[in-house]
């Protein structure tokens, strides 16, 4: 108790000096920042360039080719255009991160395979992709995707009602009737039940030693329960099928070729780097671990899954976070192919129409910073949650 109280008081003189110094430093930095902002405002006013954030509510007037939320060129504001661009960026980033992680892990572990051909192929992929600039790869994928797709006149009709041509991939859009909420609830309940089932089977196996395979049961649950709910609610689900117009396909969900090219390029490029990160992580695990696992009779797949990779994650996660952040920032290359991401819509169209470069670029930088910090935060939480507790 006494030690705790003593620990509170700064009983060493240089600690007070340190705190004072830090406060003085913060005051100086804040003063500099304030001075800089004041100078910017004065110079903009003197050059008669509009400044301030009033432009946010003005009508945008331009169209955006992919909007995840409702947007109209004639009534939506620049602020709305910002959100549309931001959602497009986040969509590319989210899908890209998932796909690139999968591909990166596969290639990374493949490079360590004992099969000579597999290892060399993976090595060739990594060396080729890492050493070609991303912009070139993006233009390659865009031109490869566009040139290989048929023009509107020769559209491919996909089974299930989809249409594929060089304007995009058009899939039937699900339309939800009343009571569809019940189906969603059923799905959530089924997933929760499956997780609980897996926990129970694991505890049972640890306690008694006999494994109980619940995979099929879980599958039946996750598929069957929502289907049952669907039937009970009277099938409140219909699909609006895309159909060919004179110039375009209307109806249905549209997936732009620009989007496909961007996701492909980002995935393939970042996967090459993630493959090396994974390989480094796996090689960092002590060889004794693998030998001990094999001595216990585990096959190589199980060794990897149960022994090596969990330990390797400690080494993998920090550089993996960097690669995720690179992917998010590289998505701004969408400007080169006309995909309406945040930079293209906001720091492109909005900047040019309003002319307010300083505010627009500042907002864009702040948004990217926020997205990156949030991703780092999530990855750090994950690392802490899965860290190996050492004795």
């Amino acid at each position: 108790m006494v030690e705790k109280i003593q620990g509170f008081l700064p009983h060493r003189p240089h600690r007070i000096g340190g705190i004072v110094l830090q406060i003085a430093f913060i005051v100086v930095i804040a003063g500099l920042a304030y001075g800089v902002i004041l100078n910017v405002a004065q110079n903009l006013a003197r050059a008669h360039i509009a400044s301030g954030f009033g432009f946010w509510n003005n009508t945008a007037g331009f169209d955006i080719s992919q909007t995840l939320i409702s947007y109209s060129a004639s009534t939506s504001s620049f602020g709305r255009a910002f959100w549309v661009g931001l959602l497009n960026t986040l969509l590319v980033a989210a899908i890209g991160i998932v796909l690139t992680t999968v591909l990166g892990f596969v290639v990374g572990i493949a490079r360590l395979s004992r099969n000579w051909l597999v290892a060399r192929l993976a090595g060739g992929y990594v060396e080729l992709i890492r050493n070609v600039p991303l912009l070139l790869q993006l233009l390659f994928w865009y031109n490869a995707v566009l040139k290989s797709l048929p023009p509107l006149g020769g559209s491919l009709a996909l089974p299930g009602g989809g249409i594929l041509n060089n304007r995009g991939l058009f899939l039937p859009r699900p339309e939800f009737g009343p009571h569809f909420g019940a189906v969603l609830i059923a799905l959530v309940v089924a997933i929760a039940a499956a997780i609980l089932l897996r926990e129970w089977s694991r505890r049972r196996r640890e306690r008694t030693g006999t494994p109980i395979h619940i995979v099929w049961l879980a599958l039946v649950l996750v598929c069957g329960l929502p289907l049952a709910a669907l039937a009970l609610a009277g099938f409140p689900l219909s699909f609006s099928v895309p159909h060919m117009g004179r110039f375009n396909v209307s109806g249905g969900v549209e997936i732009l070729p620009e989007f496909a090219a961007l996701v492909l390029a980002l995935t393939v490029y970042t996967a090459a780097f993630i493959a090396e990160v994974v390989r480094a992580g796996v090689l960092a695990v002590h060889a004794g671990q693998t030998e001990a696992a094999e001595a216990l009779g585990l096959r190589s797949a199980a060794t990897l899954r149960l022994v090596v990779v969990p330990q390797a994650m400690r080494v993998i996660i920090p550089p993996l976070t960097s690669q995720y952040l690179n992917l998010i920032k590289n998505s701004s290359l969408a400007v080169a192919i006309g995909y309406p991401d945040l930079v293209q819509v906001f720091a492109g169209s909005v900047l040019n129409i309003t002319g307010q470069a300083v505010e627009v670029i500042a907002i864009t930088m702040a948004v990217y910073l926020a997205i990156s910090l949030f991703t780092s935060l999530l990855m750090n939480l994950y690392a802490r949650a899965t860290a190996i507790v050492e004795r």
């Binding site: 800089v36 100078n39 910017v40 004065q42 110079n43 903009l44 003197r46 050059a47 008669h48 360039i49 509009a50 007037g61 331009f62 169209d63 955006i64 080719s65 060129a73 004639s74 031109n143 566009l146 040139k147 023009p151 509107l152 060089n166 304007r167 117009g245 004179r246 110039f247 375009n248 209307s250 070729p257 620009e258 400007v335 080169a336 192919i337 006309g338 309406p340 293209q344 720091a347 492109g348 169209s349 900047l351 040019n352 129409i353 309003t354 002319g355 307010q356 470069a357 300083v358 670029i361």
Partner: protein, 338 residues
């Protein structure tokens, strides 16, 4: 990228702002020894470097005319290629002295961008280009079409206005430069390409089969193209403005590159005032009194520059139309030099 670099330049300049640079453009140009002109770089007929690196075009001629007026040497110009996205930031930040880049004069650009448009040197309008195979003869048949357009241009805004007011559906694909937009149109990604109709003729020439594409008859907007300078330096904007008017007045008075030397001896009072044989009008602008003589001698008058770059003497073959002199039924009108 270029756009980010110029935006950063603008931010840096704004942050540590020079106090009076805006008011001394002519002085700094003379010190530097050359004019820095913001140009297009990819638009045939208006501003494009030829394979040897020499810049030619209607807007390029205008910058050369200013350089001729200041230095008596039309080659003392450095051309900076700018895309539609970064052209205004380049001018605002001081990277270029004058923007001669087929830019439309609008109210918001005149006010909130801190720029001054000096005079309309090309009256234009926005049009559409489509593949002949679509069998479309009017823009009103383009319901639900996909249109390629350049970012940050008035074309982008006029396009949505036109389709909305005609109750037609629209899908747009926007690109940063005219090259990318044209390539996407070529590959069939979009049904139509829209920009100023003078640019359409130029872009059509760069397609692999120009005869397979037609420019639709509708002109859906007014696009008065004008060079621009920064707010705050009235002497400089006067110089740029009167360069244009000197060229128009010269055409009205019949002064051409070929006969300008004889016209020096003319007794017509207007010609004498134009070419500096009488009066001190050049010095009032801050230049020499033979400023207009230099322009005509090196570049020619407005009509000559027009025909050479975009008119009958060029592959574009654009007719004078609205750009004819006011005495011939057009809109080009130069105030008197007196």
């Amino acid at each position: 990228m270029k756009r980010l670099a110029t935006a950063m330049t603008l931010a840096t300049v704004a942050l540590f702002g020079p106090q009076a640079a805006w008011a001394q453009t002519l002085g700094s140009i003379k010190d530097r020894g050359e004019l820095i002109c913001g140009a297009n770089g990819t638009l045939a007929g208006f501003g494009v470097p030829d394979p040897q690196g020499n810049w030619t075009g209607f807007d390029v001629d205008f910058c050369r005319a200013i350089a001729a007026a200041i230095f008596n040497d039309p080659s003392k110009v450095k051309f900076v290629p700018l895309t539609s996205k970064d052209r205004f930031t380049a001018l605002q930040s001081g990277e270029v002295d004058v923007l001669s880049r087929n830019t439309s004069w609008t109210l918001s650009r005149d006010t909130s961008l801190g720029l001054d448009f000096i005079a309309v040197n090309f009256y234009d309008g926005q049009g559409f280009m489509v593949h002949k195979s679509l069998k479309v003869s009017s823009a009103l048949e383009l319901n639900d079409a996909t249109v390629c357009v350049q970012q940050g241009t008035t074309s982008e805004l006029n396009l949505t206005d036109y389709f909305r007011s005609n109750h037609m559906g629209l899908k747009t694909v926007t690109f940063a430069t005219g090259d990318e937009a044209r390539k996407a149109y070529e590959s069939g990604r979009c049904d139509a390409y829209t920009t100023d109709s003078s640019a359409l003729y130029g872009e059509r020439l760069r397609l692999p089969e120009p005869s397979q594409h037609i420019v639709l008859p509708e002109i859906i907007s007014k696009e008065p193209l004008s060079p621009a300078v920064r707010h705050g330096d009235n002497q400089w904007s006067d110089i740029v403005r009167w360069t244009h008017f000197a060229m128009v007045d010269a055409e009205e008075l019949g002064v051409t590159r070929a006969n300008v030397d004889e016209k020096l001896k003319s007794s017509d009072p207007e010609t004498r005032r134009l070419l500096g044989s009488e009066g001190q009008y050049g010095e009032a602008l801050g230049l020499t009194n033979d400023w207009a003589y230099r322009i005509i001698k090196h570049i020619g008058n407005y009509g000559e520059s027009f025909e050479r770059n975009v008119g009958q003497g060029s592959p574009l073959k654009i007719v004078r139309g609205l750009n004819a002199l006011w005495t011939k039924g057009g809109l080009q009108y130069g105030p008197p030099i007196r």
